[in-house]
Symmetry: C3
Subunit: 200 residues, 3 copies
């Protein structure tokens, strides 16, 4: 299994766990939790696929993703008392997922010749909008809009991606750097508890 | 008019009524009620059509659906004081709609060669996600996620569909059995007031 | 620059400003505000493009829209203390946007041979559903459903469009009349503080 596949799986798992835990806090029943786990995990990629017209959306054609999320969901339910102790591991995978999914979105945009701003928007949507749907379904204003340097990491990472591309570096190096920048900004923000300013 | 067309119409009507009544409880104005009636009725099928890329979505091409929902809406408004007495009739049609729409979703999935898990997900989305959009627009956590054996009936029905298919029974019998299983589970759950367990 | 391009730009700007201001009232951070500005501005057209299968959605292919919204957003943030004074100008452009976007939606429907009811629905969605997504993300029941003659203006304008078409008037005149009718109804409703009746 190659490097990027592992990160992809790690990100999917982290997002599924985060969705399940958010649902438990809202006292959803088992089915509600399962839906939230799916939506958090594949929601961003689904919106991206719809916006660019890559239909049927990918996860419908790939039952390994469905299986992965379902298993993660079951394990999260069974082990939920132990997951809090995994907090740091989770944040780490969540950040990796953020980086990886941003990169995926950008690459999907490039594959259909979108320009830079559209690619960065697609990357950010891929990485962040699963969480936006999760929060909206749970009847909350998306955390993303209020408290965290999350999307900002994606946007900065995306800008760096195109900056590095100008330098004609090898693709693998650009990809890796982009992910590392996003993960770095995100982990730093969590550690230092940094938020974006409000207006008003 | 054949059997399945009647069920389809019955389900559409039941869903449109349920949307209108939910909107009245939230004090929407006339236009808001109309939108909620539409969304509850065709929301699930719309999401399914988008996910599989069957665009334009079907109801845009079929003004008889638009007419049916509009008429149902007007009648619901005019007769709303009498509809509570129809409670059992409504639950019955709503359950039939649930069964029929699940079957439709599964068949759409099979038509583009999706595998079993994706087909069952499509069936459940077709049957249940109109209600999810309704509740989200009305600023509530979807009932589906908290209180009812609703989606569970769809999932169990979907599993039975593929089980029966293994037995090489005639298609009509499989279709009918699937609908009956879903209707049966749903009506039983309503009658016995059964819910899914919560985690937490 | 021709007449309709100017109205289109005016409408996009007015919708972006209205989204930003709504977000400020909800204390979103900078990124949240930017997303709400985008969603309010292009949400309706995005849903329309998805429903009719015109993918990738248009704004992904047109970075001038992205740039326009981003600049409007930055100016709104910088000048927010002065924008309240612009209240009437804003309402005017917002109404123009409403008229223009309704017309756009109707024309997109006609371009793929949809019938009258579907075209009017598409027009209304194009004009109004950016605001619906905005309110849903901000965790409120869409204003559209509760307080305002907004969608009604679009529906009446749409009906007039097809009525005028029967009279075989020149296209430019029909287009202009439709926009004027919608703007007129909307401005009158704002001035007289007219709402739709509730049922209940």
């Amino acid at each position: 299994m190659e490097f990027f596949t592992i990160i992809n799986i790690g990100g999917t798992i982290a997002f599924a766990i985060s969705g399940t835990l958010a649902g438990i806090r809202k006292q959803l029943d088992i089915f509600g939790l399962l839906v939230i786990a799916f939506v958090t995990s594949i929601g961003g990629g689904t919106i991206r696929d719809i916006l660019i017209g890559h239909l049927p959306v990918r996860w419908l054609l790939d039952s390994s993703v469905i299986l992965l999320i379902t298993c993660t969901f079951i394990l999260t339910i069974l082990l939920k008392n132990h997951i809090d102790k995994l907090d740091k591991t989770l944040t780490f995978f969540d950040s990796l997922g953020l980086g990886f999914f941003t990169l995926r979105g950008i690459q999907e945009g490039l594959a259909i010749d979108l320009d830079i701003s559209a690619c960065i928007i697609l990357g950010t949507i891929t990485a962040c909008f699963g969480g936006v749907i999760r929060d909206t379904l749970l009847n909350e204003i998306p955390t993303l809009f209020k408290k965290e340097i999350y999307a900002t990491a994606c946007i900065v990472g995306g800008l760096c991606y195109f900056l590095l591309k100008q330098l004609a570096l090898p693709n693998e190096l650009i990809d890796l750097s982009t992910i590392l920048i996003i993960v770095g900004i995100r982990l730093l923000a969590v550690k230092k508890n940094i938020s974006l300013p409000r207006v008003g």
